[in-house]
């Protein structure tokens, strides 16, 4: 029998960067769409991509529909604690990444959530974190200018970085500083401490009715007035209502060349390599600026740059990417959760135990995005355990279906080396290398030429070991 079809190396590369796992189903969808370039364009307009199955998963988490005030209320009453309602956002996010057809969109939601990071479970912002996610999603493929404004002035950010307490009498610099350092221009822009203070002054007045309605409000009485200067931005700031000023300031920062470079560098690190070339960064930054911070135009420039095509396998999968790709490649089919051990709920803890539940980084700078941060012994041990556990379907095991042994085997009878090759094609989109063949022979203790006539002869245990070994391979560790 002929071996099963696989994606070309170029297509596999494109999909490994702009999706959460290259499955045979995804490869078939790309072919239907007319190839990689057409798929990429289609993905830039996610509204046109039917996504019924993943959309229905939102209902699996009823508390995601609760207002911040009600989430706070049910936490206080003990009905549904904060660590659960915020984790629901994480669980739903994992499901979106694993099962949404709008794969590129999900990669961008993750990217922006990390750049404009508000931790999932932070003491003074958690009731607003679900609403914050909607704000990020709204502009993830729009303009950065809108995204920045929506994020920085959102109650979650206002609470997280203490702007809610910042008044003209006691200016709190936290948000004003991180806005410059993390969200926009970066320290390379060489702003002064006085500019940090001015940045914070501009933001005074934006607050939230904390521990109550959790609604955002603006208090002109709290707004610091007087001339301000931050980098090239100056204003008389005479009006106690500083809302228009703040929006002008954010717009200025979004369009600043340092912001363009910083975002271009971060995008290049996410989608190309840990050490992007200056040429790539310049090209992406130029597209960002000339398009008026349009995210789609920026991504097109990144994708069409020659560095993109030549960066095959240059990125280390993070533990979360490893887990989510494994869910996809192993063909997990979750159903509505019935308890905390159900797949759709347990995956939150599974990523947590790997050190990377969504939005789980506690500092305002977001998860690191370079391989050196994730290539550690702890991570390797975690991944080995994860692969074995998932390959065996041992955890999470409730309210989820996996393909049976028969469905994972090639046409029988087949030799062991053909079975390995088939698994490699299905999971890694490439033929089995001699080293993978050797690894599988040693793990399963089966010679290459042994014939299997029936699925039951091969058996579940051997299939578990085979799948785990394929997932332990270098090809799965990178993207």
């Amino acid at each position: 029998m002929p071996p099963s079809r696989i994606a070309s190396s170029a297509l596999r590369h494109l999909l490994s960067r702009f999706s959460y796992g290259v499955t045979p189903t995804l490869v078939a969808e790309v072919e239907t769409a007319g190839g990689g370039q057409a798929w990429f364009e289609q993905q830039l307009s996610p509204g046109g991509i039917p996504d019924r199955r993943a959309a229905g998963m939102r209902d699996w988490f009823p508390y995601l529909a609760y207002s911040p005030a009600r989430l706070y209320e049910v936490n206080n009453s003990g009905e549904y604690p904060a660590w659960q309602s915020t984790m629901d956002l994480g669980r739903w996010t994992i499901l979106r990444r694993a099962f949404s057809k709008q794969q590129l969109f999900e990669t961008m939601v993750e990217f922006w959530s990390n750049l404009l990071h508000v931790p999932m479970y932070e003491d003074e912002s958690w009731p607003l974190r679900i609403s914050y996610d909607a704000a990020i999603r709204k502009h993830s493929l729009g303009t950065f200018e809108d995204l920045l404004t929506g994020a920085v002035l959102h109650g979650a950010m206002v609470c997280f970085l203490d702007n809610a307490y910042s008044t003209k009498w006691a200016v709190n610099e936290n948000l004003g500083r991180e806005l410059l350092e993390l969200h926009t221009v970066g320290v390379e822009a060489a702003y002064t401490e006085k500019m940090v203070l001015n940045s914070a002054c501009i933001l005074t007045g934006w607050s939230v009715h904390m521990w109550d309605s959790w609604q955002s409000y603006y208090e002109p009485d709290n707004h610091w007035t007087g001339p301000v200067q931050v980098l090239g931005f100056t204003a008389a700031n005479a009006d106690a209502d500083g809302r228009a000023l703040a929006r002008r300031f954010l717009r200025y920062l979004a369009r600043h060349p340092s912001t363009a470079r910083r975002i271009a560098t971060k995008l290049a690190i996410r989608f190309v390599s840990d050490t992007p070339s200056p040429g790539l960064v310049n090209a992406v930054a130029d597209a960002y600026l000339s398009s008026g911070t349009d995210i789609r135009a920026t991504l097109r420039a990144l994708h069409s740059h020659p560095d993109f095509a030549s960066s095959v396998g240059a990125k280390v999968k993070t533990p979360a990417e490893d887990a989510i790709a494994s869910y996809r490649l192993l063909g997990a089919e979750p159903s509505r959760p019935t308890n905390d051990s159900s797949f759709a709920r347990a995956i939150g803890w599974q990523l947590d135990s790997l050190g990377q539940k969504p939005f789980g980084w506690t500092a305002p700078d977001g998860f690191p995005d370079v391989g050196v941060a994730w290539a550690s012994v702890g991570r390797v041990l975690g991944s080995l355990d994860l692969h074995l556990t998932l390959a065996g379907g041992w955890y999470p095991s409730q309210d989820v279906a996996y393909p049976g042994v028969g469905a994972r085997l090639p046409t029988l009878p087949a030799r062991f080396d053909q079975i390995v090759d088939h698994a490699s094609r299905q999971l890694l989109q490439r033929p089995a290398t001699p080293r993978l063949q050797s690894a599988c022979r040693q793990m399963l203790d089966i010679p290459a030429d042994r014939q299997f006539a029936r699925a039951s002869d091969f058996g579940e245990w051997n299939m578990t070991l085979l799948l785990a070994t394929v997932l332990n391979s270098p090809a799965h560790a990178e993207r």
Partner: protein, 424 residues
Amino acid sequence: MTDDTVAACGCPDFQTTRRTFLKGASAAAGAGVLTSMVGGVFTQTTFGAEAGGNVLVVLSLRGGSDGLSLVVPHGDADYARLRPTIKLPTNSLLAKDALFGLHPGFKPLEKLWLDGRFGAVQAVGMPTPDRSHFSAMEKVEDADDGSAARVGWINRLVGLSGTGVPNQAIQLGTSLAPTALIGPASAMSVYALRDIALPGGSEDPVFQRRTRNSLEAMWTGNDSLMGRAVDSTLTTTRDLAGVAGSTAGPHNGAAYPSGDDLGNALAQTARLIRADVGTQVVALDFGSWDHHENLGTVDAGDLQWMVRNMASCLAAFFTDLGTLGTRVTVVTISEFGRTARENGSQGAEHGYGNCMLLLGGGVQGGTVHGGWPGLRSAELVDGDLSVHLDYRSVLAEVIATRFPAVSVPSVFPGFQREAVGVMR
């Protein structure tokens, strides 16, 4: 984490371990980091230093410990005035002098104090107050004002020790990005010492050997980042097999409190130190000390059993270490102290000045170091004990005396340290 923590004070974030202590940089410098979660105690251990060297154990009292209840200023008349219900009576205190006495829960450590191996520094903290768990913890752990690098002082310490030990020493790589959010349904199961093993562990050596062989077949000679991490994993699991698989109990008749997370973490730490695999710094998170309410009194409330528990664990740790204890220095640190005045719930709010406790090798103990600014209203900073001494001066003195090869200014850039006298 329990939901009433959130309801009570709305500030559970200290429980989400904010680990800037150890990350990234240490790998390049040849040190490795092992991360483990023993129950609720988050532990990070560095390796890669020379065997037989000194060891620093940093015990982070997460949540903002109430230094006034640990090293009690019973001789300050304002103490009793500010704390009518939660004050500790003078006659209950241990190792009293005219001004200070130890919380009675320190009884298991009283002998160490009297022997001069356990001491304290009062009125320490950061140069400016920060009453947010979140940013205060980051600042304490970063200890590098004005730098955006977010590296962490322990990282700088292990990165700069200059022992020249190559990566092939016990290289455990950097830690996973740490989060320690604990809910009752948590599947939190990161690496206790026994988990530093390939799947199969010591219970199934055949399976473990097959896993090892299959990984070697695929990864040997792979020089990518992950290739090196896999190589380190294969080395580490082999080298630590004796320590990880060992079921040997504590030495010298040490009795850790049964089933206690801190005790388990310290017991594992003692085993690693005894195995002499180049352990240099061990960072443990222990909490919560965020006693907004029911901080309590001498024999009731939340604080007293935590002190007793911590003291029992540390006493067992030094018993367990025996003569090795002279190589090991324990220092406690917390993101801030608590308000001088008690609140209406037999607790105290986020404050400023705090105490630090030091035990073991090199400690000039048996006394309370540091100056005492006093608790008179005029001396308080927004109602809190003021800071007489920068906490970095204490850490710098520990580093200077215990790790003389390390350049202290490189660990605390731009910081001018004061002599404290707590280390000899």
